[in-house]
């Protein structure tokens, strides 16, 4: 007489969020206070900068709303001219540092995100081409990628900036700064994507389903794409996150060097550049708060990216 063992009861179908929460990645997130803190800070910053107009007491880049007598008000005190309380102090023109922070962060984040999208698209495309086409083209793309990786991004960005400046008519300089910076920073960061995507493409290209597709008359490339993209989604996401922090810092560096966003539409880098002038004269708040904001943004994104990389890496579990 034999006993037949029962199959386990079918699991109830869970919603997408519930499944994500239960997954290994979700578990890793839930139990990592660092990841939760970093994500919270990042979300708060994004929220704050998006709705900056509504949150801040003043639009610091609307000249009409400034009162020169407010200049150099220390943090927490009321301005001599308007009587408004300046939470983080006021700069030489009477601009509220808190407001300037939010607006500046917005510019920094916008440029950062735009450049990340640019380098992602460029890098992924080049990686796909290199992996699929192979031969000389692949060798060329990869060699350029290698060189791009070992050259500091600053140099590439500065170079692009210089050339753009030479090519664009001076009257258009200010308006084009945003675009130029996006392209400059984007061009200095695409290689990582290309490498990862190419590696994945090479692996997929050798698999038999590609040949099988060709045999039955399908075009191999779209078939392969369908398999490559899900495979690279994870690593590309990690690269993009860490790249975002890098792009924000690069933008800040360029602005600091004086080749970035102008003081009329400043990013955090520009604010720091302006603030540095007052380092020796004692108005420390003009320099400190934009610096702290910049580091906080970069740190949160980096921490989140680090956690994401560990969570998505099967080998580390």
């Amino acid at each position: 007489m034999s006993v037949v063992s029962q199959p386990p009861p079918a699991q109830a179908q869970k919603g997408l969020f519930a499944r994500a929460w239960d997954s290994d990645v979700g578990y890793s997130f839930r139990t990592s206070p660092v990841a939760i803190a970093a994500a919270t800070v990042t979300v708060a910053i994004v929220f704050g900068t998006t709705f900056a107009e509504f949150i801040t007491p003043q639009n610091p880049f609307d000249a009409a709303s400034l009162n020169l007598m407010d200049g150099f008000t220390p943090p927490g005190e009321a301005g001599a001219g308007s009587g408004m309380i300046f939470r983080f102090g006021a700069d030489s023109q009477g601009r509220d540092m808190y407001s300037a922070l939010l607006f500046g962060s917005r510019v920094s984040l916008l440029i950062g995100t735009a450049s990340v999208i640019f380098s992602l698209l460029l890098g992924v495309t080049l990686g796909l081409v290199a992996g699929y086409v192979g031969g000389q083209i692949e060798a060329l793309i990869m060699r350029v990628a290698d060189i791009q990786l070992s050259f500091p991004a600053i140099l590439v960005a500065l170079l692009v900036f210089g050339i753009a400046r030479g090519l664009i008519h001076p009257s258009l300089h200010e308006q084009m700064t945003f675009v130029v910076m996006t392209v400059a920073i984007g061009l200095s960061n695409w290689a990582q994507y290309a490498r990862t995507v190419r590696a994945s493409t090479l692996v997929e290209k050798r698999k038999e389903y590609v040949d099988a597709a060709r045999v039955i008359g399908l075009r191999a490339f779209p078939v392969m794409l369908k398999h490559v993209l899900p495979n690279v989604a994870g690593p590309v996401l990690v690269i993009a996150t860490i790249n975002l922090a890098l792009a924000v810092l690069e933008e800040a560096t360029l602005s600091f060097l004086g080749v970035g966003m102008p003081p009329t539409q400043p990013s955090l880098g520009t604010l720091i550049r302006v603030g540095q002038q007052f380092l020796f004269s004692g108005e420390w708040w003009i320099l400190l708060f934009p610096s702290v904001a910049l580091v906080t943004i970069a740190l949160s994104i980096n921490l989140f990216g680090d956690w994401l990389r560990d969570a998505l890496n099967p080998r580390l579990r």
Binding site: M1, S2, V3, S5, Y27
Partner: protein
């Protein structure tokens, strides 16, 4: 009976994970006599390699020995402090791994790696150690040993490398060598050479071998006794001839039936339906019961101990005194 060289009693190896504690080796017991070759065979994931690693104290964390004892010549070694255990390794118990290419440090000449081990355990001078290293290389069959001792690992072929690895494992004259899949990464023709070499070394140096493999052919060639492992437990253990020709445990029978031979009369290979259970879902009672064709009620409730038959031991309720007649 002579005192066993190695005695493993109720060894249990656990892995704490976030899904709970997984028991990868569950109550394994066996002895190895001096100079004997014990084969440990089973599918991937049965716990063979972990047993070997646990014996020599090289379990990768978070794995740990959670119970049982390991005795070397009557003395416990599983609870030794790290430094004492290190002195046991190499000198009394050696270990050989599967892939000879990755087992050797590519940046050091094999002579350097040999003399280092020899000097460490015997305190010989550099010149003496080098002489002994050459002897060892000759012993394992490396041609032109005097010259090749200064070569780097990548300058040897796969089979030669495994010989070098064996030489390294023997360098300090251990009494037992644990060989974890020593032939799996080699070509079939080279496998035969390495097996012959291991048998020769076992005889000449009077060293016992715990031969872990999934290849029954190697066991049949080399081992004196064999233990069949399943889901972290021993299903059957006994003299090689007995287990192979007169397998008792239904799992072992299935294994033997699934090996293609040139002289078999039947046309189909036996398949055991299903697969070995995952560590998170080991059945109650006998771990093999969901797949067993002879299963009955007791199998699903009570886990069988190793019960004696004429020459072997089987962990199967079919062989409990009252059931023997129906086996």
């Amino acid at each position: 009976m002579t005192e066993p060289l190695l005695s493993v009693r109720n060894l249990r190896v656990e892995f704490p994970t976030r899904r709970g504690i997984l028991t990868a080796v569950d109550g394994v017991s066996f002895d190895i006599a001096p100079g004997e070759v014990l084969g440990v065979v089973g599918e991937s994931g049965a716990g063979k390699s972990l047993t070997g690693a646990a014996i020599i104290g090289l379990l990768d964390p978070p794995g740990r020995i959670a119970g049982g004892e390991v005795l070397l010549k009557g003395e416990r070694i599983d609870n030794l402090p790290a430094e004492a255990l290190r002195r046991v390794r190499g000198k009394r118990i050696g270990m050989v791994f599967q892939d000879p290419l990755t087992s050797l440090n590519p940046l050091f000449q094999i002579g350097e790696q040999l003399t280092e081990t020899i000097q460490l355990h015997t305190g010989m001078s550099a010149a003496d150690a080098r002489g002994r290293a050459v002897e060892l290389l000759v012993d394992v069959g490396i041609p032109a040993a005097e010259r090749r001792i200064d070569a780097y690992p990548h300058q040897f072929s796969g089979g030669m490398r495994q010989r070098v690895v064996l030489a390294l494992a023997l360098a300090a004259n251990p009494e037992l060598i644990i060989a974890d899949e020593p032939t799996t990464a080699l070509d079939v023709s080279v496998q035969a050479q390495i097996i012959a070499l291991m048998k020769k070394l076992c005889r000449e140096h009077h060293v016992a071998i715990m031969l872990i493999t999934h290849d029954m052919g190697v066991i049949a060639e080399t081992a004196d006794r064999v233990a069949v492992m399943y889901a972290g437990r021993i299903a059957e253990i006994g003299p090689v001839r007995d287990v192979i020709k007169h397998a008792h445990h239904p799992y072992t029978r299935g294994l033997m039936g699934s090996i293609p031979t040139l002289t078999a009369e039947s046309e189909r290979l036996t398949q055991i339906p299903g697969s070995m259970p995952r560590l998170t879902a080991i059945p109650a009672g006998c771990a093999f019961n969901p797949r067993c064709t002879h299963v009955f009620e007791r199998c699903c409730i009570e886990r069988p101990d190793l019960l004696p038959t004429e020459r072997s031991q089987v962990a199967c309720w079919l062989y409990a005194g009252d059931m023997r007649a129906t086996a």
